[in-house]
């Protein structure tokens, strides 16, 4: 009996301590989600296009997630925007460009060669060339 009581007291004390943690750290709005935030497009081909694009667009609130992954309301609004534009016949790359014009390259996960990223693409090529040159000198040189 006493054991049961003390277990209950313990459980209550635990709850009292955990309760403040249950509150959200940041407030979120409570408006219903945008029309196409959680609703797929009726045309499967269009939905596939939208999905492929959404998986390569960064959620701006939770920056390591794509908008396809995120439950942030802003990501929902972005999904709705993407789906509606796709439904209207817009090209996925044009939508990506529209967002990059507003948020910069960072909003897109798709690797692109640009002023700042070219060393990432050129680096491995240069290393390969150096390795080939070294091998050629060591192996080819001896034989000749």
């Amino acid at each position: 009996m006493i054991r049961k009581l003390s277990a209950m007291v313990f459980a209550l004390a635990l709850l009292a301590h955990l309760a403040p943690l249950a509150q959200p750290a940041m407030a979120q709005d409570d408006l219903p989600p945008a029309p196409y935030a959680y609703r797929q497009l009726d045309d499967p081909a269009q939905e596939a296009k939208a999905q492929a694009l959404m998986e390569t667009l960064r959620c701006l609130k939770c920056q390591s997630q794509s908008i396809a992954d995120s439950d942030a309301s802003m990501a929902g609004d972005m999904r709705s925007e993407v789906r509606q534009r796709i439904a209207a016949g817009e090209n996925p790359e044009a939508i990506r460009r529209w967002l990059m014009d507003r948020y910069g390259d960072y909003v897109s996960y798709k690797p692109e060669v640009s002023e700042t990223t070219w060393p990432l693409f050129a680096g491995p090529l240069i290393l390969l060339l150096i390795a080939a040159a070294v091998l050629w000198r060591r192996l080819g040189g001896k034989r000749g």
Binding site: L31, M74, L99
Partner: protein, 176 residues
């Protein structure tokens, strides 16, 4: 003497550590800055967010007078924290127009009753459309828009007391 070659890998390693150490000492910037600075605000026409303030459209931003465009929401806590600073900006002569993100009229009214209303106009943006179109990635953000509707400056996060002077000078710059 070819011995210097044996030190090449070490030199590359030291260079790598140097770059990493230098990057570590630099302050982190997690903000996604808008790429719309220097460009015109895309056209929009929002309904009014609260009874006693008129609605907001692009035409209102092109009336020849520089303005502060404040992106905010009643559910956003830092927005409450910046309210005294917005009041000071308004007292100093700034025209502030607001875009309420995903908000209800009654919540907007309650927020303004509690924290004051520095806004000349407030538009209601239920789908974050205007927010997306100007490259804003959260609430609150404050844009300086000149009299021709061109975005001149973006302040990300709540306006702190030390930011008031900077925003006033950016508004002054936008007059030119």
């Amino acid at each position: 003497m070819k011995h210097w070659r044996y030190f090449l890998p070490l030199a590359v390693f030291v260079a790598f550590v140097g770059v990493a150490a230098w990057q570590l000492t630099r302050p982190r910037d997690d903000f996604v800055h808008s790429a719309m600075i220097g460009k015109e605000v895309p056209s929009f026409d929002l309904p009014t967010a609260v009874g006693d303030r008129p609605a907001l459209s692009t035409a209102n931003l092109k009336d020849g007078k520089p303005k502060l465009l404040n992106i905010w929401a009643s559910w956003c806590i830092p927005c409450a924290a910046e309210a005294p600073q917005l009041a000071r900006l308004q007292e100093a002569g700034a025209t502030i127009v607001g875009v309420a993100i995903r908000d209800r009229p009654e919540d907007v009214a309650a927020f303004l009753d509690r924290y004051g209303n520095p806004y000349a106009r407030i538009g209601r943006d239920d789908l974050s459309k205007v927010q997306l179109s100007i490259g804003s990635s959260g609430v609150p953000e404050t844009f300086v828009v000149d009299g021709n509707g061109v975005i001149r400056y973006q302040h990300i996060g709540d306006v702190r007391p030390e930011d008031v002077q900077l925003l006033l000078s950016k508004l002054e710059e936008a007059k030119r």
